[in-house]
């Protein structure tokens, strides 16, 4: 799997956005709004060579790319599965492109708590009506107390796929974005267990994104979630981001520290391996002081949490560069 960051711009303004600070900086430096079609073709060939079959299109808002339909056609000609992460404010041209493809070829993950304007909400509604069961709802937990009933209702009203892809608002290292604090995780975990009853009743499955940790759920909450079809995974494993200008990132959260300039001698999988090696020393710790001795971690049931959170716990010694 690899992420192609095809757009450096976005038409929404989410305060929890992972990408915004990196993309703003990029726009200031190189003013390239989109990955060129030639670059995309180049990376598709590279992904072929590396045996990567899943391509995820991200941004900014990937559907703003002026060649979006051609990009989809190109990726499909490489027989790859496509996942699009979008805020759902889609143009007619993009909608037509996506109406023509089936969910087994392309998944559309729509960020349901994107901060969009009133007139954009109407456009998104059109998207939900026309794409219906092609859409998977994405939701980011930005507050430990949250409700999934409105989302459940939308899934039912628009006949969306009965899946919620649930993310945690995680911090960008050295930057300010609206993120949860590890101390808020247990409250968020408890709230999720409660909310899972609502989604389960409607046959909706919740799939967690990266950064979840085991101890955010009490034993009782964990068994409730299990009963409610929540597939707990604790991972911090990068799906590397391929950006314009040949820049490759571990992930947006660590974009200030772990990035590489693309180098012909290395395949995508080697670059990912290199990131994993470079981040390994930090992974012995976790988001809490007790992670190093935690039985969940020892048993492999928890990764220790988001590396960006882990690294921000550390203090530099003397003249070390500030994290």
């Amino acid at each position: 799997m690899a992420n192609l960051i095809v757009s450096n711009i976005c038409n929404a303004n989410c305060d929890f956005c992972f990408a915004s600070s990196f993309l703003h900086k990029k726009m200031n430096l190189i003013t390239q709004r989109f990955m060129s079609f030639e670059e995309i073709q180049f990376y598709m060939n590279l992904l072929d060579q590396s045996g990567v079959h899943d391509v995820r299109l991200l941004g900014g808002e990937p559907t703003l790319h002026p060649n979006f339909p051609e990009i989809i056609t190109n990726i499909r000609s490489h027989q790859k599965h496509i996942t699009i992460f979008t805020n759902g404010v889609l143009s007619e041209k993009v909608l037509q492109t996506l109406e023509d493809i089936t969910p087994d070829v392309c998944s559309i993950i729509l960020n349901m708590n994107a901060k969009i304007l009133q007139d954009q909400i109407q456009i998104r509604e059109k998207t939900l009506i026309r794409l219906g069961n092609k859409v998977i709802s994405g939701y980011t937990i930005t507050n430990p107390i949250f409700a999934l009933d409105f989302l459940t209702q939308m899934i039912m009203d628009y006949s969306l796929q009965r899946v919620i892809r649930l993310g945690l608002a995680l911090p960008i290292l050295k930057k300010q974005n609206a993120a949860l604090h590890p101390k808020q995780f247990p409250a968020a975990g408890h709230c999720l267990a409660e909310q899972s009853a609502i989604t389960f009743q409607k046959g909706i499955r919740i799939e967690p994104d990266c950064g979840f940790v085991r101890c955010m759920f009490s034993e009782n909450d964990f068994s409730i979630l299990k009963e409610h079809n929540f597939h707990y995974v604790s991972c911090c494993s990068p799906v590397i981001d391929i950006c314009t200008d040949g820049q490759i990132l571990h992930c947006f959260a660590l974009s200030e520290k772990y990035y590489e300039k693309f180098d012909q001698s290395m395949g995508i999988l080697e670059i990912r391996k290199k990131f994993l090696e470079r981040t390994k020393p930090w992974r012995f710790s976790g988001i809490y002081p007790e992670c190093g001795t935690c039985s969940y971690k020892i048993r492999g049931e928890c990764s220790g949490g988001c590396l960006s959170m882990i690294m921000s716990r550390f203090n530099p010694v003397g003249v070390s560069e500030n994290l």
Binding site: S285, P289, G292, P316, G318, S320, L323
Partner: protein
């Protein structure tokens, strides 16, 4: 930061964990979990109090008499030097 003729190496990061102080050597991509006496000494050194106070407080905290404490400190620092966490100051 100087102490007893040594200084910390570059690109080190540390955190207080339950198991002790964890140090990441970012340059060499290694991490170390310091033992309890090492963790105490590390914290005292990081706080940059003067050498005499470090010796006195370390001796009290780990219950080693003051006439033996310097040997203990130097042996810990020597171990850190082997692992590249500290360097000897020249001159």
């Amino acid at each position: 930061m100087e102490f007893f003729g040594y200084s910390f190496s570059k690109n080190l990061y540390w955190v207080n964990n339950k198991e002790g102080v964890v140090v990441v050597d970012d340059q060499h991509q290694r991490s170390y979990v310091l033992e309890s006496a090492e963790s105490v000494l590390w914290r005292l050194l990081i706080n940059q109090i003067d050498a005499e106070a470090i010796v006195r407080q370390f001796s009290i905290i780990i219950s080693v008499p003051e006439d033996q404490i310097m040997g203990k400190i130097l042996s810990i620092i020597e171990g850190w030097k082997k692992n590249g966490l500290v360097e000897r100051m020249n001159g």
